[in-house]
Point group: C2
Chain length 238, copies 2
Amino acid sequence: MFNDPHEYASGVTVDGLADDRALLTQTSRAEQVAAVLRARIAKGFFRPGDRLPEQEIVETLGVSRNTLREAFRLLGHENLVVQELNRGTFVRVPTPADVAHLYRVRRAIECSVIAPLTTPPASIGRIAAAVEDGRRALDAQDGLALGTANIDFHEALVALAGDPRLDALMRGLLAELRLVFHVMDNPRWFHEPYLPRNEKIVAMLEAGDGPSAAALLDNYLVDAERQLLEAYSRERRP
Amino acid sequence: MFNDPHEYASGVTVDGLADDRALLTQTSRAEQVAAVLRARIAKGFFRPGDRLPEQEIVETLGVSRNTLREAFRLLGHENLVVQELNRGTFVRVPTPADVAHLYRVRRAIECSVIAPLTTPPASIGRIAAAVEDGRRALDAQDGLALGTANIDFHEALVALAGDPRLDALMRGLLAELRLVFHVMDNPRWFHEPYLPRNEKIVAMLEAGDGPSAAALLDNYLVDAERQLLEAYSRERRP
DNA sequence: GCATATTTGTCCGTATGTATA
DNA sequence: CTATACATACGGACAAATATG
């Protein structure tokens, strides 16, 4: 098929196109398995502290143990699971120190993205849309959707940098933060008080005032961290 | 010629690799193997673009393919190697976009650590020591030691946060940044102009003026990134 | 504390597919 | 086009550590 000369339309150049084939379908089994497990963990099907039994997962997914173990290594490096030698692989149970770390990095990253802005960013639509989603979720008393909208908001903020690797870093932080909420008994309305602040940040960005938006966001995240740590140490199951 | 296994690994040396087998004794085999390869990459024995031949490494280190593949997954997740499906594992060749990303995160993290400081930090000794090491290296015309001292300086800065996970994050960034210098022809004296700035930052921290130190560091890193990107696109081998 | 069953850690053999000379 | 070397993935094996009764 790729070698059939009739496949080529005259006048069209495909020079170097083959180099990009790697971008199409090329993903290893281990990555695919990791993606499946990552999704299960994110949705809370696998809860923090749960052991992930090799044999059972191997039989369910129809992959070999070696492949699954490669996937475990990936997730371990993402801090979504911990691998205890000769004991197995467990969904990570974040410590308060982990929470502090996550918020520390979030503040540094998110604020550094918006602080330099002096004009309204072109792609502010996605940010505003996330806030509106949050408002609708709040009106509909949908705590889960409110949490999702909040995550979208912060991912959209970081996306302003136009740095795909920064997006990936942020996704990892938020994925880990999700574990914190899965540990808590009642995380539903945690994000409620922060929706008005999100709206104010959008307004400041639309006014081209990045520094003020960053300052507000910084305070916001400090407050959120404190509130979360209080609730976390109170609610989390040992 | 066709049967010589070394023919495949043209440019890759595994001489002395067996010496590092002593490191294989503490945690899981995969982590140990990853540590060995990480060290080899950091020191430039494996250069950016080099393929890491599975069979040869397996034979040299005396571990199974499965274990080595787990180690490769770890290194891939650290962005030190790229795994091209059915082609193999290669030491990563950073792009200019990667350099920009690394400096973006460095600026955000490092500045966020020292900006809040209002009193001289207790553990400033390690920072000052790194600067002094740099001064000695410069006097001794030792470019390699100068680079090492510079890395120590920045790691010590981040260590002020007292966050082990932040230290690990920073180590990863600097490990990847090392790849950039391994690609360049003459990175030896790149850090020279920044030693005086390091000294000034130490002075500001000793004066308890975190915000000024952070501002200086931010400018510093912007300059370094620009200079590095210029030199990188000029010097890097294709 | 002991014996047993289970699970993990690691290695090996092998079949299949892919890329390259 | 063929041949070859290599990577991918699977399955089986066994020792070691852990969990269980």
